[in-house]
């Protein structure tokens, strides 16, 4: 009995020390260098990476990186390395809210594209740096779906729907929208658009409503409209974040997701599908209008 008590006591003491040590570790850092963390936001912003072919930025991983950077006292600033055309509304808002809450300087660096939901995220940072040819803005909301009721009719397929609730079936691909439903759904889109405009305008301290048509802007246009702060590249973003952090030298640390087997397969299948699609497209194409860089 005494022996069992002694064993339990030893276990409790060790567990207690481990727990206390783990709790006291928050905020401790031995690093003598100043670090700037780069958090990549590349791809479509999605709620979760569910299927094999779905690959994108989820709020979970971006937020976990931001929290990690925030807790690490050696990290003096954060650069959001953005190359995204946006994506789902809620995940974009979630990431933007997290960016806003960070107490350390955050600079958004827009590479090729930082539009729509990705611009929402960028707007939440302290400063935005983009190249003169970067695509940004596109403050708009879009929603759509395939409706194939006519096709079904052609094939003699009839859609029977039993619903409780007048609008439960609104947006079904098997039947046409009524005017009333169309108006209702459009109103929802308008509400989201309004929230989007308000958020980005508040974040930037500029009324962006006149430019919130869904149209994108190049960096050199965006700077004149107050949508971004500086024209430049990674070096400029680093210079700005160092200035905001009040430091002269800093080491850049890139937070990157390790590629899993699923990522590799998904990338392979994605690229293959794209090439097949391009091949089919090419075979149909005549001398069409081209814009290439």
């Amino acid at each position: 009995m005494r022996r069992a008590f002694a064993v339990i006591l030893v276990l409790l003491v060790i567990w207690g020390i481990a727990t206390i040590a783990a709790k006291s570790l928050d905020g401790i850092s031995f690093s003598v260098t100043n670090n700037i963390v780069m958090v990549p936001i590349k791809g479509t912003i999605v709620s979760s990476n569910g299927g094999l072919l779905e690959e994108g930025i989820t709020p979970d991983y971006v937020i976990s990186y931001l929290e990690k950077a925030e807790k690490d006292s050696s990290v003096k600033g954060i650069i959001l390395d953005i190359n995204s055309g946006g994506g789902a509304v809620l995940p974009s808002k979630e990431i933007a809210n997290k960016v806003k809450s960070i107490q350390k300087p955050v600079v958004a660096l827009i590479r090729d594209v930082g539009a729509s939901g990705a611009y929402w995220v960028a707007s939440a940072s302290d400063k935005i740096v983009a190249d003169s040819l970067s695509i940004t803005g596109s403050i708009g909301v879009r929603s759509g779906y395939l409706e194939f009721s006519d096709l079904m009719e052609d094939y003699g397929i009839k859609y029977e729907s039993l619903t409780g609730g007048k609008y439960k079936d609104a947006g079904s691909p098997y039947r046409d929208l009524t005017d009333e439903e169309r108006t209702l759904l459009q109103n929802k889109i308008n509400l989201i658009h309004e929230a989007f405009i308000k958020e980005v305008s508040d974040n930037r301290g500029v009324n962006l409503r006149p430019y919130a048509t869904g149209m994108f802007f190049l960096g050199e246009e965006a700077i004149k409209l107050g949508m971004i702060d500086y024209l430049g590249n990674k070096d400029k973003a680093l210079e700005v974040v160092k200035e905001l952090a009040g430091i002269k030298e800093a080491k850049i640390i890139v937070y990157e997701r390790k590629k899993t087997l699923k990522d590799v397969i998904s990338q392979f299948v994605g690229e293959m599908s794209f090439k097949i699609g391009t091949g089919i497209g090419e075979s149909f194409k005549a001398d069409s209008f081209k814009v290439e860089a």
Binding site: R3, A6, V7, V10, L11, I14, W15, I17, A18, T19, A21, A22, L25, D26, I28, S29, F30, S31, Y61, S64, Y65, K68, K71, D72, S74, I253, Y255, E256, R257, K258, T260
Partner: protein, 141 residues
């Protein structure tokens, strides 16, 4: 080590004991630090917090074995497996720390265990250094 010799512990018992202890260590020592290792998926950076967490885990892991083996001559895994550590009667604490030093790293432990294959007493190298050995608990008649 004590002159009163018994039967050398069988290998499977030692392995069983090790895995039981590892599971206990996982719960009481590693789990409290889980957020420093598990939360940030795929973060390819070892920062100072991870380093300190690793150091504390290593120290507490050694102490788990050292304290129990010093005070009772058995860790929980060894109690379950029916084996014990044989050491000199007035042995101090440090040999028990020494014999468990390699358990913080699987590579060190593998090399240490490899030594067992080449000795008559089937001792790990660090057991030899600390003048300890693992024996079967004698059956009561």
């Amino acid at each position: 080590m004590s002159k009163k010799r018994g039967v050398i512990a069988r290998l499977w018992k030692r392995i069983l004991a090790y895995f039981i202890d590892i599971m206990i260590i996982g719960v009481i020592v590693v789990y409290p630090f889980e957020k420093y290792f598990g939360k940030v998926n795929g973060l390819s950076m070892i920062n100072s917090q991870m380093f300190i967490a690793g150091l504390v885990i290593a120290i507490l892991t050694i102490f788990y074995w050292a304290i129990l083996e010093y005070s009772m001559r058995q860790s929980i895994g060894k109690m379950v497996s029916g084996i014990y550590v044989n050491a000199a009667k007035n042995s101090k604490f440090w040999p028990f720390v020494l014999r468990n030093l390699t358990k913080i790293n699987s590579l060190f432990l593998s090399v240490d265990v490899l030594y067992m294959l080449f000795t008559k007493q089937h001792q790990r190298y660090f057991e030899k250094l600390s003048s300890t050995e693992v024996l079967e608990v004698p059956r009561k008649k």
